[in-house]
Structures are given as C-alpha cells and as structure tokens.
Amino acid sequence: MKMAQSSEVPAPIADDIGPHAPEGAHAVPRRILLSVYFTLLVFTGVTWAVSRVDLGQANIWIALAIAFVKASIVALYFMHLRWDSPFNGIVIIAAFFFVALFIGISMLDTHTYHQALKPTPTSVITP
C-alpha cells in the first residue's frame, strides 16, 4: 500500500543528491528502501505459508508468481530500474523473456521422449 502511494510522487524526492552528481544518479529515499524490505519479508512469509497448504498444481504457479513479484520489486527499487534508462529494463526483460521461451519450448516435447528415459531392469543394477 505504501508503495502505491510513493509511486504517485515524482522521482526525485526530498533528499535528492547534489548538483555535481553524475547523470542519471538518484538516491533512493530511506522510506522506500525500508518499505521494499518489509514487503519482501512479508512475501517470503506468504510463500512459506502457501507452500504448507496443498493446492495441487496451483502451488508451483503461486510460488512462481510471488517470486516474480519479489524479483520485480528488487529490480525496480533496489536496482533503481524505476528511475533508470528504460533501455536497461528492456535488457533484463529480454533476458527473462528468452529464458521463458527456452524453458517453454523445451517443455513442449518432453512427453515424446519420456518413455525412452525409463530405465531397463539391467540399467538399475550396478555391475
């Protein structure tokens, strides 16, 4: 909730750095650092709590969604992406996109070789 409020405020808040600061520099206010930290702690607790409830297939997707939200918060605030050049954000989003593409396409045909990976009785016994 606090995060939503702070996002209304323009980027350079109260204690911005001096006139000699390098281009693109922005000191993250203490309030944002701390609220991000506590949000991350709360989400860690939520991940742990949800994992103790058996929701079948949904468990993994909820866990991944929470992890993704946590990662986004870290990237946006701790890693300054929110105030940074959008190009840096594009680089990291592209990396995540290609990993998703890689895993997604690799998963597509797993059933085609699943049977072939089952061990024969002899392969279990060590010589």
């Binding site: 000699h20 600061a21 520099a25 930290y37 991940t47 701790f78 990291i92 990993v99 392969s123 060590t126």
Partner: protein, 276 residues
C-alpha cells in the same frame, strides 16, 4: 556512468541466461518426476535453513542498496557500515550453506558417485538405512539407525504413508499434530519407506533432484563468494575514501550484481525447498 551501467545490465542478462539453462533442466526433470522431487526435497532439504538464508540475503540486499544511497550522499562512514553488514550477510549465507552441504555429505546424498541414490555410488556404506538403488545393500532399517526423536516418540513411523499414495491427510491422521509431519519426513525410516513406495523408474531418477539442487545452489553459492570478493574490494576503496557523490559507479554496479544474486535465490528458495 550510463554506459557502464548498461554494460552491467547486459552482463546480468547473460547471467540470467546462464542460470536459465539450469532452471530448464530443473523444469523438465520435475515435470517428468514430480513425486521424485517431492520425495527428495521433503526428505533431505531443511526448510528452516532455506528460509533463514532467504531472509539473510534479502537483508543484505537492503544494506547494499542503502550503501549505494550512502555513497551517493557522501556518507562515507555509513557506506563502510553498510558494506560490512552486506559482507556479514554474505558470510552468514555461506556458513548456512556449508552446514547444509555437510549434512548432505553425512547423509550420503552428495553429487555423482557420492550420492547413494546414484547407481554408480562409490562412497562408504551409509550408516543410516538410507536406501540405495544397488541391490547389494538392503533397504531395511538396521540397528544402527538413529532412534526417532522425542517429537516422534511412541509413534509408529512405519504407519506413515506418503501423502500422494492415499487420500489427503492419511499421514496426518496417524500423527496427532500435523505441524510436525514435515519434520518426521526426514526420519531415515520414513525415507526408506517412501523410497520403497516409488516405482522403479522413479527410484532411478532420485539422484536427478540432487544434481539439480547442487548445480543450482552451487553456481549461486559461487556467485555469493565472488560477491564477497568484490564487496571486500569496495570496502577497501571506501575506507580509502575513493567514493563520493561525484564518483560511486563501482558501488552502484556491485550493488546491481548483488541484487541479481538475491533475485536468483528468490526463485531457488520456493523451487527447491518448498516442494511437496
């Protein structure tokens, strides 16, 4: 400054792609043998250490972000304090990782030929009744098996059936307090029972979980060690007073690296420790 930062982001992008390969191997293995992953994670991973490490890494991310802020605002002493705290967080993480890895070694579930679930196992005979794929070693509990802990005293552990093997809650009915069921899953006798209930194909794949676990946490741990190295380098330069509001690029870039290490752990924690 801007170009240096872009270069760092491109490097972080390649890091994500490198870990992506391991996440892909993990996804395929878990998708094919979900019960194997549930069995191995519940039997051998300690949720307490995993959660504690998550909290430690998030905290060290906070101190790193605060350190960048301190550098930007010319607060030299605060920067030094933040870097020391971050370094302590990283060291704490590695200490816990060492505790966990040593436990895996003691339980004969390390990588490759040091993993009792691997058909090529070459280590000493497990003292615990930990199951082995080789028919040479019997899976029945031996007298050397550790006695059940007080929490399980008076409880017939052989009655516990794996959760997936029957209607939900069957195992919990045997144990009066469901909260302790996760703890009892690390009991060697329960492990042996559950292992025997796996199909031959699944038994054969148990060591795939450990390959994923050690490769992913190992590569991540290597990044933490490298992070400790560069943060120490920052600390030395900060003590010399080389950083200021006009020049703090190294602090900023190491910060980005450290947060990425945190982000990767944020994904590893639920994927490895919280499976069931």
């Amino acid at each position: 400054m801007t170009s240096a930062k872009l270069g760092m982001w491109v490097f972080l992008g390649t890091e994500i792609l490198m870990f992506g390969g391991l996440f892909c191997a993990y996804s395929i293995n878990r998708h094919m043998h979900p019960q194997v992953f549930a069995f191995a994670a519940e039997s051998y991973l300690n949720v307490f250490w995993g959660t504690l490490n998550t909290l430690i890494l998030i905290s060290s991310s906070l101190t790193m972000a605060w350190g960048v802020r301190a550098a930007q605002l010319n607060q030299r002493k605060l920067l030094i304090v933040c870097l020391i705290l971050t370094l302590m967080g990283a060291a704490g993480f590695m200490v816990i990782k060492t505790i966990e890895y040593s436990a895996k070694w003691d339980e004969h579930v390390w990588v490759g030929k040091w993993n009792a679930y691997n058909g090529l196992y070459k280590g000493s005979e497990p003292a615990t009744p930990g199951p082995m794929p080789s028919p040479v070693v019997a899976v029945t509990p031996t007298s050397s098996a550790p006695t059940p802990t007080d929490a399980n005293a008076g409880l017939d552990v052989s009655m516990i059936k794996p959760r997936y093997n029957g209607p939900g809650g069957l195992a919990n009915q045997t144990i009066q307090q469901p909260q302790e069921s996760r703890e009892s899953l690390r009991d060697p006798q329960v492990i042996a029972e559950r292992y025997r209930d796996l199909s031959a194909s699944e038994q054969w794949h148990v060591n795939a979980f450990f390959s994923c676990y050690f490769l992913m946490t190992g590569l991540h741990g290597l990044h933490v060690l490298i992070g400790m190295g560069v943060i120490t380098w920052l600390l030395i330069r900060a003590i010399k007073g080389e950083f200021s509001a006009e020049y703090f690029t190294p602090v900023d870039l190491v910060g980005l690296y450290w947060h990425l290490v945190d982000i990767i752990w944020i994904f590893l924690y639920p994927l490895l420790y919280l499976i069931h």
